[in-house]
């Protein structure tokens, strides 16, 4: 049997694959190193089916800025899901997800909308990231969720990385993007070194192509009324970011915060404000890990003030 070349190849491969896996150069960039965790994170979030008392909707400024676990220290017993997506929109498709997922037992049930000008644009309304995650095949979902974490050893490398490793060169990228993935929908993130002006150029370009849609604002108000009528408390806030970004958005996005807040309150929602100086953005758009925890606690405290009189201490304190 050992003279069979196929058997030889299989046996040799087992040994060489293990050795290559041990010695292969790993990526220096933490962003690349976390690809498996990243893939698992989005599958877990999108296909979350457990009971949930509070859902937060928004874009990356939400999912990087609000930690449900930190909120639960202020709102014990509340099962909270951060349902933010990259370039995520506030639009009927996402609102319908609320109806599918807000099945918790606590009252009142709560929806929190993280309102950024971008989230109200037609471009965001394509919900590309959410749709991409939602339409994955069963097999893909299963693999990303349960199998890939065990296959991290076999993660691929590149010829360029191998050649650098062989020459003993270790070139660090100009910035290191760190991320920690949490099953409750939060990604704690930070960049070394900080660059609070980084996101401005891309936002300037984005708003030259797309603007806040009055129709999407109307839809948000309509759903706020519907939810309020059903006894769901609806909160909204503008995720804190740098002063420069706020000015840029005011000038280019077509978003009028004053009018929006007035209409939102008339629709039955509660608008929450946070002093931007209290938080720090690492790229001019997203909050760093430390600020995200502070914001989450502040947000929970304000929600408690408005709506949570009774706490069911028997309910589990974390999302499963």
């Amino acid at each position: 049997m050992l003279h069979d070349r196929c058997v030889k190849v299989i046996l040799y491969s087992l040994v060489i694959v293990v050795l290559a896996g041990i010695f292969k150069p790993a990526p220096v960039d933490p962003l690349l190193r976390a690809k498996t965790e990243d893939a698992r994170f989005w599958v877990v979030k999108t296909h979350f089916s457990g009971p949930c008392d509070m859902m937060l909707l928004g874009d990356s400024r939400l999912y990087r800025a609000v930690s449900p676990a930190a909120m639960q220290t202020v709102l014990p017993g509340y099962r909270i899901l951060n349902f933010g997506y990259s370039s995520g929109g506030l639009n009927p498709i996402m609102y319908q997800e609320v109806a599918k997922r807000l099945h918790g037992t606590r009252l009142p049930k709560i929806v929190v909308l993280a309102v950024t000008p971008y989230s109200l644009t037609p471009e965001a309304a394509r919900n590309e990231h959410f749709v991409q995650e939602l339409t994955r095949t069963r097999e893909d979902i299963y693999q990303r969720r349960y199998i890939n974490p065990y296959l991290k050893f076999f993660e691929p490398t590149t010829p360029h990385r191998i050649s650098r490793a062989l020459r003993g060169k270790k070139v660090l990228p100009s910035e290191l993007y760190y991320q920690e993935f949490h099953d409750d929908g939060w990604i704690a993130s930070w960049i070394v070194p900080d660059n609070p002006a980084k996101a401005l150029a891309s936002y300037r370009e984005t708003f030259s192509k797309t603007q806040v849609s009055p129709h999407l604002e109307d839809e948000l108000m309509r759903y706020t009324k519907i939810w309020s009528a059903k006894g769901i408390r609806v909160f909204a806030f503008r995720p804190p970011t740098t002063r420069a970004m706020v000015v840029l958005e005011e000038q280019l996005s077509g978003f009028d915060e004053k009018t929006f807040v007035k209409r939102f309150r008339e629709a039955g929602g509660v608008w929450l404000s946070f002093p931007p100086a209290r938080y720090h953005s690492y790229d001019g758009s997203h909050l760093n890990k430390k600020s995200a925890i502070i914001l989450s606690e502040d947000l929970a405290a304000k929600i408690r003030q408005y709506s949570v009189a009774r706490c069911d201490t028997n309910a589990p304190s974390t999302l499963q």
């Binding site: 070349r5 691929p156 010829p159």
Partner: protein
């Protein structure tokens, strides 16, 4: 199920564990093949198994009917063809036809909305439908022509039609080639298993290392918000796409052929280094051979082929190429791709330029370059997302403008270089003479293939479906 998925590896392990026991008796062997193939296909969407079963039963019945009622052969053939072409029309072309009907009516001032009335299920393209319907049609056509006797065993027929290695992306195997093989019980030899393994490893390397690593570069170029205005950039991108689609598709057929060898069967060669062709005619004898020979035998020759005069033979060739374009996808840019190839073939037939060029020094290499320029230009229409995009890229490729850049990163350059050099080696007949004795070669060969396996695992690109699944 994708060949490049973990679930397929498990499926294949299980199948080849059972296969030696299943293959000993005809019915058991065929049943094993059918069950495995249905699991393989149904993994994607089990509902579309009914389509394979329906189309298969129609052709199985038509085949038996033709033998029993020879005087009704023509009618039965028409029924079989209508059934197969009908299912293609419903599932592949209904949206296309409806959209074009809307546009045509709009031209004459009528506001109709046929496209929005097409039921949703008709817009889902069942994977591999074009492959298995063509395979199924060849069965009845061959019986009609008296080139094949129908099988009386429905398991035998479905084992042929649904055989999983080639079910969704070919090669399109003719019934007269595979049905007799399925009747035999022949354990594979060590040499066959070794050849099969080499084909499988080579197929995976082409797909997961070359094609999947070139894919992000090509996708990025075609989906950019602002398309590049650099001539050199688009030539490099089109070369990258040419090798992406070649490695993707020929990688799939290599794996299919290797699996068949392990099962004890032989699938004919489907790709024979097409980019080393020195004429367009030669290109079509090397690219997707099973499809081009299908079109030759069942469309071009029945139309009269080249024996009906020069003018008619050109018309026949144009029709065949346009249908071949439409076979690839229900969109006008695929038809234009087929039309462009027809145009290049016509020009070549009339001018006989390859023969003229080959007479000069270095003429072979020049002919190879000219053929590949034509193939690349045609690929633009195949890959572009819209006609406007295709026209913009073609203009840019021939405007000799913009910055001189390739758009290739370090790694893209390496993968593309491997692909190009390996084809060049074949063209220049390099590596045909062994450097070491046969004994040493036999001992070292497994080590080389182990390294290729390691490359497949650790140099694999971002996984994606095989391109030809969509056809």
């Amino acid at each position: 199920m994708l060949f490049n998925s973990l679930i397929f590896i498990l499926f294949a392990l299980l199948f080849f564990a059972v296969w030696p026991y299943a293959r000993v008796r005809n019915n058991r062997r065929w049943a094993c093949l059918i069950v495995a193939s249905f699991i393989f296909y149904g993994w994607w969407d089990w509902r579309f198994l009914f389509l394979i079963i329906g189309s298969g039963l129609l052709d199985f019945g038509a085949g038996l009917g033709m033998e029993r009622f020879p005087q009704r052969r023509r009618l039965l053939l028409v029924i079989s063809i209508l059934g197969n072409v009908g299912s293609l029309m419903v599932f592949k072309y209904s949206g296309f036809v409806a959209r074009n009907l809307d546009a045509l009516c709009a031209l004459f001032g009528f506001n109709v909305h046929v496209a929005s009335q097409v039921p949703h299920f008709m817009l889902i393209l069942p994977i591999g439908i074009s492959f298995y319907t063509f395979q199924s049609m060849s069965y009845t056509i061959d019986i009609y022509r008296g080139q094949l006797r129908p099988t009386r065993n429905v398991l035998h027929f479905f084992a042929y039609l649904s055989m999983f290695p080639q079910l969704v992306a070919g090669p399109i195997i003719r019934a007269r080639d595979l049905l007799p093989q399925l009747l035999t019980v022949r354990p594979s030899t060590e040499q066959e298993r070794w050849d099969g393994m080499k084909l499988i490893i080579q197929g995976y390397f082409k797909k997961v290392v070359i094609a999947d690593n070139l894919a992000p570069l090509v996708t990025g170029a075609f989906s950019a918000a602002t398309l590049s205005d650099s001539t050199s950039y688009w030539w490099f991108i089109m070369i990258a796409f040419a090798f992406q689609i070649y490695c993707d598709f020929s990688g799939y057929t290599d794996i299919a052929r290797g699996l068949a060898k392990w099962m004890g069967y032989e699938f004919a060669l489907n790709f024979n280094h097409p980019y080393i062709s020195t004429s367009m005619r030669e290109f079509w004898t090397r690219w997707h051979i099973s499809l081009s020979s299908w079109f030759r035998d069942y469309v071009y020759i029945p139309l009269g082929g080249s024996k009906v005069g020069t003018w008619r033979s050109h018309v026949n060739m144009w029709l065949t190429m346009l249908i071949s374009g439409l076979w690839h996808g229900a969109a006008w840019h695929f038809v234009i791709w087929g039309g462009l190839h027809a145009l290049f073939l016509s020009v070549e037939r009339i001018t006989k330029w390859p023969e003229v060029i080959k007479r000069i020094i270095g003429g072979n290499m020049l002919a190879l370059v000219l053929v590949n320029v034509q193939v690349l230009v045609a690929w633009v229409f195949f890959r572009a997302e819209t006609m406007e995009q295709a026209m913009y890229i073609i203009r840019t490729m021939f405007s000799f403008s913009g910055a001189l850049r390739s758009g290739l990163g370090h790694d893209d350059t390496i993968y593309l270089a491997i692909a190009i050099l390996s084809e060049l080696c074949v063209f220049l007949h390099l590596g045909t003479k062994p450097l070491v004795s046969q004994k040493v070669q036999r001992a070292l060969s497994p080590i080389a293939w182990v390294l290729v396996i390691v490359a497949c695992i650790y140099l694999r690109g971002p996984g994606s479906e095989f391109i030809y699944f969509q056809f």
